[in-house]
């Protein structure tokens, strides 16, 4: 561990922060993809409800994105606060 710290000129926390943010992006992508899949399936079954479904889809996507952005903020803190 100490050898690695000598070889790097930035701390491990930068690595951790960046990887964390990347994982959060994967999570958000999968989550919002599922939401979109469910919404599109539902619209295909019942096109008249497409307005309701679209509103719910955007609402749920905002929640999932909020959680992913928590992780982005955590990653940012890891990088900026050394």
């Amino acid at each position: 561990m100490s050898l690695m710290n000598i070889l790097l000129d930035v701390s491990i926390s930068h690595l951790g922060g960046a990887i964390g943010a990347g994982l959060a992006a994967i999570g958000a992508g999968i989550g919002i993809g599922q939401i979109g899949k469910g919404a599109v399936d539902a619209i295909a079954r019942q096109p008249e409800a497409s307005n309701d479904i679209r509103a719910n889809m955007i609402l749920t996507a905002a929640f999932v994105e909020g959680v992913a952005l928590f992780a982005v903020i955590a990653g940012l803190l890891a990088v900026l606060k050394a």
Partner: protein, 356 residues
């Protein structure tokens, strides 16, 4: 009539300020090109500052022309009393004034033992005041029109057309479904929060403006106010559920449900705070990163900079459109979740239904 006079007053004030106070600041070269620091550049645009910095031109003789609008600095210190001066006295951090210095955008006293309170009018304060004036003048203007019957007995005119569907949307989709029966009491707060966040989000997207909603202090205050509104709407049923959650064994009730539910009272407004803050700041960082990429490529070679700029601008425009949508969505989500939590606070008396 009043709205027009208020608007003229605003325009006159802004014109006066910009004419009197935009000063060219001549800075000497520090001996060679300064290395481009993208992280610092982006952070400068996201953080609060004591002046509006619009752009910097490098003149042929090496000096720089900063187009800035310096803002007043108001400091109250225990030793020196009230200090009031323009931030142009700091010359972007190169000079000290009156015993204070600007370091990394924050004011530092030269005497380390001195305690002071920084009450300056910063970028965020100016933008919040502008948003406040716009909100108040718009809403009072519309309300006066409604009082005279315009929009009720006759067709709505002017801004009523734009704002009435939004107010109806908040009332019918956010307030009524979540706050059955008592929505009239909470509608003013929900509408204020919605429009204030929306206006500040939209203003924040204008280049050169302040990043108000992406400032954790702003969102913390909004979250704390929502927290108190929720707290003051709770009833016995709500607290009964927290301390004595029905439908589970007593051991689970005390060991798991009690801490979880108690923590839940605080995590819900905390999530509101971080969600709004993170969404806005992330959007701004993405837009700034795409534009900064041009300069990063440009510092490698001029051709790469120019060649990459159409792509970068295209991406930035695409993200801008998404950010406009996010501005509306985040204002709606904050309002909707506040309404949901208030509704959860005073719902009660459904002991016949099965609890989840």
């Amino acid at each position: 009539m009043q709205v027009n006079r208020l608007k003229s007053l605003l325009v006159a004030c802004l014109g006066l300020i910009s004419v009197l106070f935009i000063t060219p600041v001549v800075a000497n070269e520090k001996g060679g090109e300064e290395k481009l620091d993208p992280a610092k550049l982006i952070m400068e645009h996201i953080q609060d500052a004591h002046d509006f910095h619009f752009f910097t031109l490098k003149k042929k003789d090496g000096t720089e022309f900063h187009a800035t609008l310096p803002l007043p600095i108001i400091i109250y210190s225990s030793t020196k009393g009230l200090s009031f001066f323009s931030s142009s006295n700091f010359h972007h951090g190169h000079e000290a004034h009156n015993g204070y210095r600007l370091e990394e955008g924050k004011i530092v006293a030269e005497d380390p033992a001195e305690k002071f309170i920084d009450l300056s009018i910063t970028k965020n304060v100016v933008q919040m005041l502008l948003a406040l004036t716009l909100l108040v003048s718009l809403m009072i203007g519309i309300a006066n029109k409604y009082k005279k019957g315009q929009g009720i007995q006759t067709a709505p005119k002017g801004w009523q057309n734009a704002i009435e569907p939004v107010i109806t949307f908040v009332r019918d989709e956010v307030a009524k479904p979540n706050l059955a029966g008592k929505y009239q009491k909470y509608l003013p707060y929900l509408l204020t929060v919605f429009f204030f966040i929306l206006i500040n989000n939209i203003f924040g997207l204008i280049p050169g403006s302040a990043n108000v909603t992406g400032n954790i202090a702003f969102t913390v205050v909004l979250g704390v106010v929502s927290f108190f509104v929720i707290l003051f709407s709770t009833n016995k049923h709500f607290w009964g559920h927290i301390f004595w959650y029905p439908g589970v064994p007593v051991v689970v009730r005390l060991l798991i449900m009690l801490p979880v539910e108690l923590l839940g009272v605080f995590t819900k407004p905390f999530a509101l705070i971080v969600r709004l803050f993170a969404n806005m700041v992330a959007g701004h960082i993405i837009i700034l990163s795409f534009i900064t990429l041009i300069f990063i490529f440009g510092s490698m070679s001029a051709i790469a900079g120019w060649g990459f700029s159409p792509l970068s601008v295209l991406f930035a425009v695409f993200i801008y459109l998404i950010e406009i949508m996010v501005a509306f969505i985040q204002a709606f989500i904050f309002t909707n979740l506040t309404a949901v939590f208030i509704g959860q606070a005073f719902e009660g008396g459904h002991h016949d239904e099965a609890h989840h």
